[in-house]
């Protein structure tokens, strides 16, 4: 790859992000600016912003890598990422907006009227956020190594520094417009090279995938277990369940709903998100398939996750290929930066507000200002996943993201769905659901990430835990709630009115209970 082009593209993306962040600082001095701005954001722009933040390293690089290495069954990943928003739309989009909650812990506390549930949710937000940040940093390391040959820690560090500078300065996040632009930037960066590559492929007479004779059939067929997957049927269903139910519980998703003026706009926004994601996800598999055509054997030292970046030069040698690679590298960095910024903002906000502020105040004798506390939280939010990215062997970008979805689906999905629709949910039941789902899913994730490949059923069950952890979490929450009817929050009926009635009725909507 031409290092100069690639580095130029990455530096441009980083500088733009920082520049817009600094500019945004002037636009959004106080949080209330953000709230006011929220009233004027149209569903279309809001949806672009959600797409811009949601399309991460897993979408930009990971899907193509998975399709390249494991074949057709991996198409369930982009399908699941999209379907997750349909489920979110149908079950919680409007109630979440109407709850007036700004973060998941806010929702948990408002619905269940318990500060302990809030603390539990905060811990989970931090855990899921860190798990989701990990592949963003790993992806950045991979991408920069493909472009410059630098060791992987350099690329991760670049993202860490840009995001910390950006988030700690207070920019980026609050500006819906920037995230909205990010979506169109990423779509262009992945679509234009894809069209060029497809044109070349057509001109070459549509050559088929190059695989060794026995495996060609398996790669292109569903449920073949190609790429060393045991129990592909179970894995397919479990992945689909995790992605479909996990989306609503991701820490950086709910915040964006707050910028919708009302529940109806929240639904329309989600509808547009489904359209935008569907459009984007047409392209990553193209790279996976063409990778099998033009790069049947990965060059030494290249991971499957880098196939998107390596492909253009294999298809069109010369400066056109180099330019296309640079465009893709820039798009990939835009993906790392926007997703990492959104996640860091959410994690840092929760760390600061719920976990650090009181303790920090005691330690420093109330010397620390609010801003200092938030900056400290930002650094902490990034340093932990950075350290983990150094020590944990990458198991595939989309796979790691899939695990974050599994944890979110096993914890926040029952909380949000039961909390929105079932008056019988008790505080104890919700807590029991969060703890059981969280412990089981996080345990499975830790074993998968630390113990290396496990074969047979244990490997499949631990590697794709959602199919058993989500039902267990739901059951525990329901059974414990039924056993503890006395602990149903006192104002449940009032909360339900707020969550489900249209705003145009002018009902009492204050979050304070009378």
């Amino acid at each position: 790859m031409n290092t100069v082009y690639g580095v130029t593209a990455i530096v441009l993306v980083c500088l733009t992000t920082l520049g817009v962040g600094a500019f945004g600082l002037r636009l959004s001095r106080t949080t209330s600016d953000f709230y006011v701005a929220g009233r004027t954001v149209t569903p279309y722009r809001n949806a672009s912003a959600i797409g811009g933040e949601y399309l991460s390293a897993a979408s930009f690089l990971g899907i193509a890598g998975l399709v390249y290495s494991s074949g057709l069954d991996m198409l369930w990943f982009p399908v699941g990422y999209t379907v997750g928003y349909v489920v979110l739309l149908v079950l919680v989009a409007a109630p979440l907006r109407r709850s007036g909650a700004y973060t998941l812990p806010d929702f948990a506390e408002a619905r269940l009227e318990s500060s302990r549930i809030r603390l539990l949710s905060s811990l989970l937000v931090v855990g899921i956020g860190w798990l989701y940040l990990l592949p963003q940093l790993q992806g950045a390391g991979l991408a920069l190594r493909v472009v410059t040959g630098a060791p992987t820690w350099v690329g991760s560090l670049v993202v860490v520094l840009v995001v910390i500078a950006n988030v700690a300065a207070g920019g980026m996040r609050s500006i819906t417009l920037v995230q909205a632009m990010q979506y169109w930037l990423k779509l262009t960066a992945i679509a234009v090279p894809a069209f060029v590559l497809l044109t070349v492929w057509l001109g070459d007479g549509r050559p088929g995938p190059q695989l060794t004779a026995g495996t060609a059939v398996d790669w292109a067929q569903p449920l073949s277990g190609f790429g060393g997957q045991d129990h592909p049927v179970y894995a397919t269903y479990s992945t689909l369940l995790a992605l479909a139910l996990g989306t609503m519980g991701l820490p950086h998703v709910l915040v964006r709903f707050y910028t919708n003026p009302d529940g109806r706009a929240a639904r329309r926004t989600t509808l547009t998100v489904v359209a935008l994601l569907g459009l984007f996800y047409l392209f990553p598999p193209v790279y996976g398939v063409l990778g099998r055509v033009y790069l049947p054997h990965l060059p030494d030292g290249l991971r499957a996750d880098s196939i998107v970046l390596a492909l253009p030069e294999a298809v069109v040698p010369g400066s056109l290929g180099e330019v296309l690679s640079a465009v893709l590298a820039g798009g990939a960095f835009a993906a790392f930066l926007s997703t990492a910024s959104g996640l860091t903002m959410s994690v840092a906000g929760v760390l600061d507000q719920d976990l650090l502020r009181g303790r920090l105040g005691r330690l420093t004798g109330e010397d620390a200002t609010v801003v200092q506390g938030f900056r400290l939280a930002t650094v902490l939010a990034m340093v932990v996943p950075y350290a983990a990215a150094r020590f944990v062997e990458p198991i595939g970008l989309a796979t790691t993201v899939g695990l974050a979805f599994a944890v979110a689906g096993s914890t926040f999905c029952p909380l949000l769905v039961l909390g929105s629709w079932w008056r019988g949910l008790s505080t104890v039941g919700a807590a029991a659901g969060l703890v059981s789902g969280g412990v089981l899913a996080a345990g499975a994730v830790l074993i998968t990430m630390l113990a290396g490949p496990i074969s047979g059923w244990p490997g499949a069950l631990l590697g794709q835990p959602a199919a058993w952890t989500i039902p267990i979490a739901f059951s525990v929450a329901v059974v414990v709630s039924l056993a503890t009817p006395a602990r149903i929050p006192r104002h449940t009926a009032r909360t339900m009115v707020r969550l489900h009635t249209p705003e145009d009725l002018g009902l009492e909507r204050s979050t304070r209970h009378r």
Binding site: T82, L89, V90, L240, G278, P285, W421, V497, P502, L505
Partner: protein, 138 residues
Amino acid sequence: MTPGRTAEGADHPDRLARPPRVRVTSSRRGAATRRDLRPLTRDLDEQTDLGEVYMAGLMSAQLRLASRVLIFGALGLGGLPLLFLLVPDTRTLEVVGLPFPWLVLGVLVYPVALLVARYYVRQSERIEREFSQVVGRR
């Protein structure tokens, strides 16, 4: 003059000669008293039994709609691996020159998801519109 008082007046022996008046006031009763009714929104706010009934109606209508959409999605998407498993021919089937599984999972899923989502948004807005009309019409 309230309808109640007119009705009493009609019963008075001196006024027996004016029966039509009774009919007129009784037909106006609904319109006249309507203005004095508490708005239903207050029943919702104060969580009276009536308000609870309306809320339960709204929520169950929305939940039925959501279940319909989710069951459609679960059968449609969840049925695909089952189809591939039970009818192996579908794994290699070619449709317009493309392998069927690639066509479905790579392309067709997305417009269908969008149509389903659009159906849901329209229906749920209709449910809310009707709810607002019943509850909020004053």
